[in-house]
């Protein structure tokens, strides 16, 4: 059991506050009158409701079906009547409502028919689909659908399976209590994981501040028919982060932008392993979990809680105290504040931490960064948080990405040690969301540009086609006009056939000039006799002289045209 451990970079040691809640025994929380079950409790597509308002459902009955591969089903945590399907308050920092199914429980807690799965006899893909339909998702916090993680994919096996019992966040003890009381069940779940992943090495990492849990897990591991190495890892926040636990136990780092399975390692939380054991060996879908209720309450402790139970009922159970300043879901380092305490416990709810001004004094106002690099010293991702802060603050998101902003795991170590009290993680979240928004915008803009460019091309093409059409039409018209005009004048008649034969621009111009001349001549021919009627003989002579000069000029003017016409 003396495994060589590796030290991950950075980390902090905030006060643990574990002893508040892990000294009281685990209790099952009583059945509440109302259960609110969100359809989006996991990463991926939200479940689709498969029940109707007014329908009676049984405990463990699927009420929301998984939608797609990366999704998980949700189930009725107890028997009762569906009273509403619609938006309701959910535990999210935004306070925005999400689609939930509300049940009015009937107190009978009547189970739907369920039976253990003969998992070894089942095809792996069928077993995974079954687990997806039983709503199994990661209970360590990310709530990623476990069926997806249990698929070794093209590699056909995942040599190393790590079970995460780190629980490095201060105040939280639900994994600790689970390991102490149900170590055997956890390892039964591990056996299923091992079966699906084909793992040959199984490691359980537990922080060394949980000696009882380590002892219980080691004892349970003795009775297995496969080897499980239960390893005590140094208690340093965030030793329970998946990437950090992998490094501590194996000395390997998950390549940036890749998954741990790319290096043949898969990590599951102990709670997930327990849920898997309940599903496989008892046929029970994921309808309850362990929740630590601690902080500013009279009796901090752990409860086994039905998913959908309103948080305030648990706070009441643990003994509400005056002077509370709200509650967090999760721990003080990465938890999120709850918009109100009516919100239900979901699969991700590992802890309800009630705040008070004494336990969590308001954070002091931030001062400018003095580049002391304490943040860099404690960053487990080995980032330069002071530089990322500068880039995020000045909106230099390109540089932020160059400096590996997306390798930040938002563990909060940097903010915790900052002597200027700068909420650094906030700046990183902001920068990340800005970059995502910009990428989305850029994609939209690219699409719009493509559309615009095509439109421009289309307009130009249409214009060209129209112009060509017009030109052809005009030419035809001109040729017709030239013909029509030339006939009465009897002068351009020789030119007309050639114009029709050679429809070039120069020819068209010539044709126009010729036609105009012809028109003028025709006009003159018609007018001259009229104007010279009944004139005195002197004037008549004058006119004749003028006419003669004009005729000469006309003759001269026509010559170049005629000479050209003669050429072809």
């Amino acid at each position: 059991m003396s495994r060589k451990l590796f030290k991950f970079k950075g980390g902090v040691h905030p006060p643990e506050h574990k002893a508040e809640s892990n000294v009281r025994p685990l209790h099952a929380a009583p059945l509440p009158g109302k259960l609110v079950i969100p359809l989006r409790q996991h990463i991926g597509n939200p479940a689709k409701p498969v029940v109707e308002v007014g329908e009676r459902v049984l405990k463990g009955q699927m009420i929301g079906a998984a939608d797609g591969y990366i999704s998980a089903a949700v189930h009725a945590s107890s028997s009762g009547i569906v009273t509403a399907i619609g938006p309701a308050a959910v535990p999210h920092i935004s306070g925005l409502p999400d689609l939930c199914i509300t049940l009015s429980t009937d107190g009978r807690d009547e189970w739907i028919a369920h039976a253990p799965l003969d998992y070894q006899a089942m095809a792996a893909a069928d077993l995974r689909m079954k687990l997806r339909d039983m709503g199994i998702a990661g209970l360590g916090g990310a709530v990623f659908p476990s069926a997806v993680k249990l698929d070794p994919g093209a590699a056909h096996s995942c040599p190393t399976l790590i079970i995460n019992g780190g629980e490095c966040e201060p105040w939280i003890t639900c994994d600790d209590m689970l390991m102490r009381s149900r170590a055997g069940d956890i390892l039964q779940g591990v056996a299923v994981m091992r079966h699906l992943l084909g793992s040959t090495e199984i490691l359980v990492g537990i922080e060394d501040n949980k000696p009882e849990a380590i002892a219980a897990m080691q004892a349970a591991a003795q009775s297995l028919d496969f080897a499980v190495d239960v390893v005590a890892v140094p208690a340093t926040y965030p030793a329970g982060g998946a990437k950090q636990l992998i490094e501590t136990l194996t000395g390997r780092q998950v390549p940036s932008g890749k998954l741990s399975t790319d290096i043949g390692i898969q990590v599951f939380n102990v709670g997930t392993a327990y849920a898997l054991a309940r599903a496989v060996h008892h046929g029970e879908p994921l309808i309850s979990r362990l929740v630590t209720v601690t902080g500013h309450v009279l009796r901090p402790q752990n409860f086994e809680v039905l998913i959908g139970t309103p948080m305030h009922t648990l706070i009441t159970l643990a003994g509400e105290r005056d002077g509370s300043t709200g509650a967090l879901m999760g721990g003080p380092m990465m938890g999120m504040p709850m918009p109100d305490l009516e919100v239900p416990v979901v699969k991700a709810t590992n802890c309800i931490l009630v705040k008070s001004n004494a336990l969590f004094p308001p954070l002091p106002k931030a001062l400018p960064c003095i580049r002391c690099t304490r943040c860099a010293d404690v960053c487990p991702a080995a980032l330069q948080p002071q530089e990322l802060f500068r880039f995020a603050k000045t909106g230099d998101f390109g540089r932020a990405q160059e400096y590996h902003l997306f390798d930040c795991i938002e563990c909060g170590c940097c903010s915790y040690v900052c002597p200027s009290h700068i909420p650094l993680v906030d700046f990183y979240r902001y920068a990340k969301s800005e970059i995502w928004a910009r990428e989305k915008e850029k994609r939209a803009a690219d699409l719009a540009r493509e559309r615009h460019e095509f439109r421009e091309f289309r307009l130009v093409r249409e214009k060209k086609e129209k112009a060509e059409k017009l030109a052809a039409k005009a030419q035809a018209a001109r040729a017709q006009a030239a013909l029509d005009q030339a006939k009465p004048a009897g002068l351009a008649a020789a030119a007309a056939p050639e114009l029709a034969a050679a429809p070039s621009d120069a020819d068209a111009k010539k044709a126009l000039i010729a036609a105009a001349l012809a028109r003028a001549q025709a006009k003159k021919a018609g007018v001259v006799p009229k104007n010279t009627d009944h004139l005195p003989p002197g004037t008549q002579r004058e006119i004749e002289e003028i006419e003669a000069r004009r005729a000469k000029i006309r003759e001269l003017a026509r010559q170049p045209l005629e000479s050209e016409e003669k050429k072809p």
Partner: protein, 344 residues
């Protein structure tokens, strides 16, 4: 308000307070070895710095309270005061402090924004503009015939009628000045070192002042207020550069121990080059920054126009910080270097 919801008990004020506390052994040694004049200088610089800080905060529209209580102005004032001759006239102290706070700190954007160490900018302005007044160092009490009381020191500093003979009797050239002068007179280092101003391995008195600064510096390191990289690299730069020169021509170049135990080196290595705002931030960058400052100090002392080079060396390295930082980014988790992945 998003996570995290807890903070370590640290603050800028706490950091600065520790820096001031770590300077106290040096101040005590200073008074013990050179007389109480430094206390007047420190007080005057402190008052000037706070007044200038308050005025600049008001002018820039910043709240006075959080920035005055962060103690950063007092740290600047003390570092400058400890770099000045203890019997420098009052206007020299005031001018240097004003320049440090007003120009070097606030005109660059205030706390956290200055690219140069403000105290060293103040010092550089004074040594360039008033080289004569910058030589009024009080000699070690062990070597002077008479000494000044606190009141007499204040009188001298504020330009009162201190008898010229008294002033001459208590001021003397620093060891670095003496070395420089001696070398200009074509004396060998060994000949120069026979003068009483030189002590066991540094200057008489000065070596113990340097030791006191070293003690304070080690305290800051033990408390992790400063990292080890900058001071160690700084001292290594001094030792290697001075040692290299001394090895080739011991007659013309001072011994490395002598250079190390000039008080400005210990003050510079542990208190000034470690200023986080104007220094390098990456671990390797800190090593380069410190080593470069040490190297430049010896180069300036040996071939430059001024007897000491710590201030200019640090200012030159301040200039190089963005370049150093950019090229010394550490390997990020899951990458084999900047932007690359490790071989799986």
């Amino acid at each position: 308000m998003p996570s995290p919801f807890i903070l370590d008990r640290s603050s800028v004020t706490q950091v600065m307070a520790w820096v001031l506390a770590a300077l106290l052994p040096g101040v005590a040694a200073y008074v013990w070895l050179f007389g109480p004049a430094i206390l007047v200088t420190l007080a005057l610089a402190t008052v000037t710095a706070l007044a200038a800080e308050a005025a600049m905060l008001k002018a820039r529209g910043y709240p006075a309270r959080p920035f005055l209580t962060d103690l950063s102005a007092i740290v600047t004032a003390w570092l400058l005061a400890l770099s000045l001759p203890a019997l420098a006239p009052w206007w020299l102290i005031v001018t240097g402090t004003l320049f440090a706070i007003v120009v070097a700190k606030h005109l660059y954007g205030g706390l956290g924004q200055n690219i140069f160490n403000p105290a060293m900018v103040g010092y550089a302005v004074l040594i360039v503009s008033f080289p004569v007044q910058m030589t009024q160092w009080s000699g070690p009490l062990a070597l002077t015939e008479t000494s000044l009381t606190l009141a007499q020191s204040a009188t001298v500093i504020f330009g009162g009628d201190a008898p010229k003979a008294t002033l001459d009797a208590v001021t003397m050239a620093t060891p670095l000045d003496a070395l420089r002068t001696g070398l200009l007179q074509q004396l060998t280092v060994d000949e120069i070192m026979t003068q009483p101003i030189f002590g066991q391995f540094g200057g008489a008195g000065f070596e113990w002042l340097a030791a006191a600064f070293l003690l304070g510096g080690l305290l800051l390191w033990a408390l992790r207020i400063i990292s080890w990289q900058v001071p160690l690299a700084f001292l290594a730069g001094i030792w290697l550069a001075a040692g290299f020169l001394h090895f080739f021509d011991a007659g013309r170049f001072g011994a490395p121990w002598f250079h190390l135990f000039a008080p400005s080196v210990m003050l510079g290595a542990f208190f000034i080059a470690t200023d986080p705002v104007s220094g390098a931030t990456t671990p390797r960058g800190k090593l380069i920054f410190g080593f470069g400052a040490g190297l430049l100090t010896i180069i300036i002392r040996t071939w430059g126009g001024y007897p000491d080079g710590v201030a200019f060396a640090i200012l030159l390295m301040n200039l190089s910080v963005p370049l150093i930082d950019q090229h010394t980014q550490p390997r990020v988790y899951g990458t084999s270097g900047r932007g690359k992945e490790p071989p799986a």
